[in-house]
């Protein structure tokens, strides 16, 4: 199984939940989900890296007024990414099951 970075993982999940979206929409969804701002250039860098690995594809969309008449690039995840992520999630949940037993160590006092 290929290694997936934690930012990559979240961005991939956001992409899988949507059909086709652009970077700013990813940033918005990230903000809603995590409650934190993620800078647009770091999304660009992540997307670019994942595109090289073949997990993401992109194309130019139509220009909008909001963008000062510039075209937007929209991204979507590939089937390869879906397989990878589902496998990863399964592995993670298996790991998590081992932690569910409450132990004194993790209780806030």
């Amino acid at each position: 199984m290929e290694l997936v970075g934690s930012l990559e993982e979240i961005v991939l999940m956001i992409l899988l939940r949507n059909e086709k979206i652009n970077s700013v929409e990813i940033a918005k969804e990230y903000y809603e989900a995590m409650g934190k701002n993620l800078s647009v250039p770091s999304i660009h860098v992540t997307l670019k890296r994942m595109q090289k690995k073949g997990w993401v594809k992109s194309e130019f969309g139509a220009p909008t007024a909001e963008r000062g008449g510039r075209r937007k690039r929209i991204y979507w995840a590939t089937p390869k990414a879906f397989d990878l992520l589902s496998e990863l999630t399964k592995a993670k949940s298996r790991l998590w099951k081992g932690i569910t037993k409450p132990s004194l160590q993790y209780v806030h006092i």
């Binding site: 970077s23 700013v24 800078s39 660009h44 909008t64 000062g68 510039r70 937007k72 690039r73």
Partner: protein
Amino acid sequence: MSISDPPKWANWLVEKLCPESRLEEVQGDLHEAYHWRASEFGATRAKWLFVTEAVKSSRISSITPFRTLNQYLMIYKNYLKTGWRFLKKNKLYSSLNILGLAMGISFCWLAYLYADDEMSYDQYLEHHEEMYRIVIDFKRGDDLHHIGGSSNAMSVQFSEKIPEIDQVVRIKSDFGLIQKEDEVIEQSLIMTDKELITLLELNFSEGAPGEFDLPNDVIISETLAGTLNLRGNAVGKILSLNRGEEFEDFIIRGVYEDIPENTSVRRHLIMSYSNYLANAPERRLTQWFDLNMNTLVKLHDKSTVASVEEKMDELHKENEPDSEAEVAMKLQPMSQIHLNQDYGHYNGIARGGNVEMIRLFAGIGIFCLIISMINYSNFNISLYINRSREVALRKVIGAEKKSIFNQLIAESFLSSFIAGVLALLVLILILPMFSSFVGKSYTVDFLINMRFIIGALAILTATAIISGFYPALILSRFSIVKSLKGEQKIRSGKWITQTLLGVQFILATGLVAGMLTMRKQVKFLSTFDTKVDLENVVYHDYIPAEEGQIKKFMLDLEQLPEVDQVAAISGYNGTRLNSEEVQFDVRHLRVDRNLMNLLDIEIVSGRNFNEEIISDREQGVLVNEAFVERMGLEDPVGQIIPFKYNQLEHPKVIGVVEDYHFESARNVVDPLVIYQSEQYPLQSVYVKLNRAATFDSKRFEQLWAKNFDPFPFEYSFLEEAYLDAYEAENQMVQLVGIGCVVSIFLAGMGLLGIVGLQLNQRFKEISIRKVLGASSINLYSVFTKKYILIVTIGLTGGLSLGYYLIEDWLGNYPFRVDFGASIISVTVLVTLAIALITILAQVFKVVRANPVKFLRDE
């Protein structure tokens, strides 16, 4: 909701930082995000985020290779690469070129280092601009004297009565002997006020000066503490010091870090001024014009100098109302003390700098640099003919004149940089030699100093730009078509090359002529007939003892078999002769026993002192011929002269001595009066040795120890002392000599390169001439003529330059050589020989080559 646009400058930043291929997407996204955030979090936050993300957008570019992104970086990298290849292709010429440049640069750096150090004296002190030394301009008749000194009385009154003066520091120098186990160390010291410690910013590594007002308070430097093995536990220790008669005890209050070498007041032992106040005779402290110390003052404000000087003059008039002399009290700025020779450097002021030496150094450094820069330009102009194709091709592809120019300048920076690294190595190698030559303690640490680094880099950059400028200008103007066909000739370059070559020879010849004249002058001075028999004369100078003791020493010396004669003198002092008809400065000398006989000085008329005639001892004087002339005496012997010194008044001339040089032959002989009367203490003892016996200093030392213990035994030979007087001249000759060798070498190298390169372009011509039957003599003369013409022009120019400079220098000497035929002929011979050998060696190679080799390709 109306939302403003993101800041324009940040948008511009995105355009600059983000690679073109991604710009549309990134910029669009940033704008979209801005609008979303502005509605969600407010405009300020959105703006802030936009700016930070604009900066961060440069991260995207780091994914693609960097060098393809910045065209400037790329092009300069290419320039340097082709430049390096070009250097490698012409190994011989490039290494000559760079070596020459390195020599010029290192010489120039040395000169800069020296000049900068000499000119930096005292300027590191925080208050140096407000600090001054009290000096006096003293005018009597037509003679103006500059006196670098003041008196205790002046210091006290100035400090009390002139409110503009903030602090007054008196500095009185002295020396003493320190007993350390078996050896005796002679140590110079100053007695001074406490304020000096703060003004000189002394840092104490041990203890502190405290009040520093007791006669036995001293502070010592770390070096002295080290010599005395007191490092770390010096404070409170007793220091035993002998300043004349017996050892006195002093208490060490503190140890200070050594005072930097570029300070005018610099001693290893500092004593409280109260010691001087306690021991000095009343007269020394109260008499107004008893100038025996230096006074530094610190003003509140440096703009009040003129008014302070005025007030000092007024106080002078109050104290000295009947003085005939015109006296002007002056303030000499602290930073000028070191290099201004007028007021001298004594009484606690460290030895001064030599402005002439600095000028000479700077001049030679710049000469050498100019010669090596000319070499560089000339080499490159000639070599660039080979490169015209490369340049043309660049132009065809679209390079502009400006970019070709930039390329060549970049290359000259490359060469200068390599030369700079070499120069640094040379500098590190010769620095120890150089520093002992100029009597400084420069070490490699000295180079790691902001001023030097900036100066050195400035010299390096200037070298690169100046030496690269002309070749770059010429080459960037080449015509494309001609260059591609290989027909481009450097017509405009030719005469410039030759002019530059001529300039080189002018500079080199000028230096050679200068050096030869200086050598001749120094030789002339050191073999000058001083009219004194210097042979086998030993003398002891400044004997620190009472007269009775000195006389006993002389009697002891006479007992030795190797001693022929003994005499003692006071040293040559000066006074003013005032009569109704004439006023002039006159030197006077007290002798004990027969000095004239000992030094074999001729008595021109009259007679020598006679032991048996009592009146000789009190009223008889000998005068020299200069005195007779100055007084305008017709028949001097038997005349009463208006000379007065202490109790000796109106003495009678019993004889006239020849004008013997009692100082160096650098000056004319001053009027001199010699007497036996006890008006001045004896200081030196002259001993004439027997020719037959061998001199053994041990026996002298025993007698010395018997009479003058614990003062260390010292003696010199008179002959050497006379030669030592020309130390400064000797140093200059050496310096100019080195400059000469370097510049001749550089000029020769330049000639070698130019001749070689120009001949290389004419192989075909020479081959055709040979095939058609030209004899080798014919060929030699054809190809040598042109260069010999340049060298001859250089010689003429150089000789005139040398003449002009050296006449100026020789003007300082009343006894001097002339810039005559012998110097001119030697200079011409040396320069022509070097030039001819260089040229012929190159022509020889070409003429001997097989013509078939160069004609075959057609």
